[in-house]
């Protein structure tokens, strides 16, 4: 942390404008989506909307294909998050404290699924399923998602574990607690919020993933795949607009919660 006493020069006006412009660039398109969900126009993307209405929300809520896509996506995301939570925590425990041969290779391996383009991960899984004669199913999607969700949990957990003072663990052991008691009473409370944050982000990542999914889903329709079909061949634009708003709302909650958890948790670990 930099000291607050360092006399900062004031930001120049052009820097402020550039920053504001960048933030607007990032957020105006999202705001536009919300506006369009209330547009009464259903044949084109005309701007500005001729008039505003809330009727499309009821239409979208009554659509079974939307609901079954949501249900599939939620189930996939829950399973992937669960698997990622276990694997990511184990990996963080191993890599945060120990030094051993191949450590860097393992951390690279964990990052690889998101560092390589999604197309590569997707087609690699597709060719492996093909080679092993595994038919597409719910689990073929989950395996793909869990693989790239691990790194999110791992990153959060390892950052917190590194901040955790070793003297806390020594104190716990000196006071007679065994390794499991120390884990349960000392490490877990410190790690908990980082894991929750990691899990929320993993959930958001899986809930939204489309590139790998197109290779591993076969005929199944997750919510992003539903959305992609609408993007390529729009069928009922107003319904798509409403679903888009619904997705924004649903992903903002875990993201903000995860941010809040990491901030609060880091402050605790530091004091």
């Amino acid at each position: 942390m930099r000291s607050e006493t360092y006399p900062l020069p004031r930001a120049s006006r052009s820097l402020k404008i550039a920053t504001l412009g960048g933030v607007l660039f990032l957020h105006v398109p999202l705001a536009l989506i919300i506006l369009y969900a209330f547009s009464s126009e259903d044949k084109s993307y005309v701007f500005p909307p001729p008039s505003l209405t809330t009727q499309w929300f009821a239409v979208a809520l009554a659509r079974d294909d939307v609901w079954s896509a949501v249900a599939l996506s939620v189930q996939v995301a829950l399973w992937s998050t669960g698997i990622a939570l276990i694997l990511g925590t184990f990996a963080a425990g191993a890599l945060a404290r120990f030094r051993f041969f191949g450590r860097d290779a393992i951390s690279l391996l964990l990052i690889l699924p998101i560092a390589l383009p999604g197309v590569v991960t997707g087609i690699a899984l597709r060719s492996a399923y093909h080679a092993a004669d595994i038919p597409f199913s719910f689990w073929t999607i989950v395996i793909g998602h869990a693989t790239f969700c691990v790194v999110v949990v791992y990153n959060n957990a390892v950052a917190r574990l590194r901040r955790l003072s070793p003297s806390l663990l020594e104190a716990s052991m000196d006071l007679g607690a065994n390794a499991f008691q120390t884990f349960y009473h000392v490490i877990l409370p410190q790690l908990g919020s980082a894991l929750l944050a990691g899990a929320l982000l993993a959930f958001a990542l899986s809930f939204d993933e489309v590139i790998v999914t197109t290779f591993t889903a076969g005929q199944q329709t997750t919510l992003p795949i539903w959305m992609l079909q609408e993007l390529i061949r729009p069928r009922q634009r107003p319904v798509t607009n409403v679903v888009a708003v619904f997705i924004i709302a649903l992903t903002f909650v875990p993201i903000i919660a995860a941010y809040w958890l990491t901030q609060a948790g880091d402050d605790n670990a530091r004091t």
Binding site: A94, V120, Y259
Partner: protein, 311 residues
């Protein structure tokens, strides 16, 4: 250790003592589950991809012939395929440069000037788009770029139709409308990956010690000089780290050019179409090796600039 005295020690205590004395065992227990998953499923898949790329598709029966050969890699060097690769790399480079130019001021402001709630708000403002739905954000641009959409409306309001017309009639970047042009594809790419570029740059500027900046000022450098000779070089690892994301993500994406753009192909689309419609998994596999190699070269260059210390 006087474990003998504690004959009543619970199983947990004993196991704990064993693990404490043999840390390597604890390490092994922790490592096995993630290693099994990544070793078998992920590396296994990558190897099967590699193996697949040496086979070939029988043109008549449409089935895969399991004979090892290099024909897929030879086909990569056909002019049409080289064109796709060149176009993808050019696009990735342009997107990366533009993202850095747009992203740097934001990162710089966040790291050096923003304090307290302004800083928190800016951080969330950059992080939200990074994590929020890729498809929804892409959809937003379909709305923005549409012929009857918001950008066209704004252009009409400002009486700049002539400008838009002349941009759209420019050969390589133009097209029927913004949402069917390479320029449109480019804008969406920049929008999509901008947060990924901002955050590493911000982190690297934040890490510059205040004392270094004070020293520069004490030695008589005006702020402008400090920026160009001290801050910018020290921020380069962050720039390199951020550029890895925008470069790699652009190179592998096949959905953005499919939804917004003209009919020119990029690497990701060729891979997707070959495995899907054409059913030519071996050629798709070989083609997907191309971005891996390009990114490996890029990573190697970025590593030399210290990008990995900034992640």
């Amino acid at each position: 250790m006087q474990l003998g005295h504690r004959s009543a020690a619970s199983f947990g205590d004993r196991l704990s003592a064993v693990l404490f004395q043999r840390q390597s065992m604890l390490l092994l227990i922790l490592l096995i589950p993630p290693l099994l998953w990544f070793g078998v499923i992920y590396l296994g898949s990558l190897f099967s991809l590699l193996a697949q790329s040496f086979f070939r598709l029988d043109d008549f029966s449409g089935t895969i012939v399991y004979e090892v050969g290099l024909q897929n890699f030879v086909a990569l060097f056909e002019p049409a395929n080289l064109d796709v690769i060149r176009r993808s790399v050019t696009m990735a480079t342009m997107v990366t440069l533009t993202s850095v130019v747009i992203g740097f001021p934001i990162a710089y402001f966040m790291a050096r000037y923003a304090r307290g709630s302004t800083k928190a708000i800016l951080y969330v403002a950059v992080m939200l788009p990074l994590w929020s739905s890729y498809l929804v954000r892409l959809y937003a641009w379909k709305l923005l770029l549409a012929k009857e959409g918001a950008i066209a409306w704004l252009v009409t309001q400002c009486h700049l139709e002539w400008l838009l017309e002349s941009i759209l009639s420019t050969p390589v970047i133009g097209g029927n409308s913004l949402s069917f042009s390479s320029l449109g594809t480019f804008m969406v790419f920049v929008y999509m990956w901008l947060p990924f570029v901002i955050l590493p740059i911000q982190a690297s500027i934040e890490r510059i010690p205040a004392s270094v900046l004070e020293a520069s000022a004490d030695l008589g450098a005006p702020p402008r000089r400090t920026f160009w000779t001290v801050i910018l070089p020290l921020a380069m690892p962050g720039v390199a780290a951020g550029s890895i994301f925008s470069f790699s993500l652009t190179l592998g994406d096949y959905i953005i050019p499919q939804v917004v753009g003209n009919s020119t192909l990029y690497i990701g689309q060729v891979v997707y179409r070959q495995q899907g419609l054409a059913g030519n998994l071996p050629f798709a596999a070989a083609f997907s090796i191309a971005p891996i190699l390009i990114i490996a070269i890029y990573l190697w260059l970025a590593k030399k600039r210290g990008a990995f210390d900034a992640l």
